[in-house]
């Protein structure tokens, strides 16, 4: 439903706009929905707008969970 990709905010422009970098490709998108996002943050981008910030700590935690041993029943 919602094609969206993680991208790094390279720099903020006038107003709500910012230049993001996704895998070396740069585009100008709007941060109107995530106004608290700062340069260096990663955001999820959908149709030219950031919809959420990506939490790097949670990303690490999720990756670590994948590698959990089978009998370590995860707590939520």
């Amino acid at each position: 439903m919602c094609l969206a990709i993680p991208a790094r905010i390279v720099n903020r422009l006038a107003g709500d706009d910012a230049v993001i970098d996704a895998g070396g490709v740069r585009k100008t998108v709007s941060l109107a929905l995530v106004p608290e996002a700062a340069e260096g943050d990663y955001v999820i981008v959908h149709v030219g707008y950031a919809i959420s910030r990506l939490d790097p700590r949670e990303a690490e935690r999720t990756l670590a969970r994948f590698a959990d041993l089978p009998d370590a029943q995860e707590a939520r």
Partner: protein, 379 residues
């Protein structure tokens, strides 16, 4: 790409697949619905079906806003472009969807209608601002992920005092769709839905949060695990669902914690609430009328509502009576069980919502999986 590649690691995928096989009780079947077209796409693209044990099946739900858009609404959009002469701006996804009498937005364009593909709602607004002499209509579709953008452009149009811009709103709501799948009159015909849980949408949940699913989990006793779009996210979510089912739990869990919180994106929710209101009912192709499942522009921004501005009259158009989308969207039937699948109904000439876009259950199966049907029959 950072935060993408790590979640596509083939070796970890096999570890997760082994965990799922281990956890799944051989004596029973698990059927999980992935509601979101993006998940359908990930499963198909990475061949995740091959990694799951045979007793864990994924069912594709109606999470594709293009697929569930009724033909009559596309007819309205074509009418605006061809007969009312507006500049109709649309996401590319709708361009090829067949409407009534063999038309489509792409065909209307070749007949001279000013139909323009845009990547973003902001592009439509820019076209309106740059061309005050043209009437510009933005064909807004999508679930909650895409709705905030439409709200923003309406508010911007208002601030700019644009007199030539409006939005044809077809935004639909995820929780209402899930409720409809679990409980609707059609189910009396199809029988109880054999679903054990849901893989919740990734980016809709960025906007609405994980809280709205708590009602379903409790009321219908079905676990919901919100999952990111990457294949490892999907596998991990399936594992979490299998564990919940085994333990008799039915809770909302969040696998996509790196982007989804319980309350969601409050800024986005506020913008939506400022601009849109609930429609009492809206037709979903394949599901029929679904109450409180869609949005319309509210009174405050009425002059940006294309339906009011152009006096649009909606005329429902029935699908082929042999179309099984209603059952397929609820997981009661599989694409190959529909008489029309791959014979008269193909991606080039789709007859029902499940075939309309590549995320639809039938299109995904046709594109990525139908070659197995032949093999299975031959085996």
């Amino acid at each position: 790409m950072k935060y993408v590649d790590e979640f596509r690691d083939g070796d970890i995928a096999r570890v997760l697949a082994a965990k799922i096989a281990d956890a799944a009780d051989r004596a029973r079947r698990y059927a999980f619905m992935e509601f979101c077209g993006g998940h359908t796409h990930a499963i198909a693209r990475y061949g995740l079906t091959d990694l799951l044990p045979r007793n864990v099946v994924m069912v594709h739900g109606p999470g594709c806003p293009v697929c569930v858009l009724p033909i009559g609404r596309i007819d309205n959009a074509i009418e605006l472009a061809l007969e009312r002469g507006v500049t109709l701006c649309t996401y590319a996804d709708t361009l090829r969807v067949p409407a009534s009498r063999g038309t489509s937005l792409m065909k209307a364009k070749s007949s001279g209608a000013d139909v323009r593909m845009v990547y973003s709602a902001a592009d439509a607004l820019r076209i309106a601002a740059d061309h005050p002499e043209r009437e510009v209509v933005f064909f807004a579709i999508g679930f909650e992920t895409t709705t905030p953008m439409s709200a923003l452009v309406v508010q911007q149009a208002d601030r700019l005092g644009l007199a030539n811009f409006s939005v044809f709103c077809n935004h639909v709501l995820t929780p209402a769709a899930i409720a409809n799948i679990l409980e609707s009159p059609q189910l009396r015909k199809i029988g109880p839905v054999p679903l054990d849980g849901f893989v919740g949408p990734a980016h809709v949940s960025c906007v609405i949060g994980s809280a709205p699913y708590e009602y379903f989990a409790a009321e219908y006793a079905k676990p919901v695990v919100i999952a990111g779009f990457e294949p490892l996210d999907v596998l991990q979510a399936v594992l979490m669902l299998v564990r919940q089912v085994n333990a008799g739990r039915h809770e909302v869990e969040n696998e996509y914690t790196r982007a989804v919180s319980r309350e969601g994106n409050l800024t986005a929710q506020a913008r939506i609430a400022e601009v849109f209101g609930l429609r009492r009912s809206f037709e979903w192709r394949g599901l029929g009328e679904v109450p409180y499942s869609a949005l319309r522009i509210n009174e405050r921004y009425a002059r940006f509502d294309a339906e009011r501005r152009y006096g649009i009259v909606y005329r429902p158009v029935a699908d082929n009576p042999a179309c099984e989308c209603g059952a397929i969207l609820r997981g009661a039937k599989r694409p190959a069980e529909c008489r029309l699948f791959a014979s008269t109904c193909t991606p080039e000439s789709p007859l029902g919502s499940c075939m309309v876009s590549s995320e639809g259950a039938c299109a995904a199966h046709y594109g990525y999986g139908r070659w197995r049907d032949g093999a299975r029959q031959a085996a």
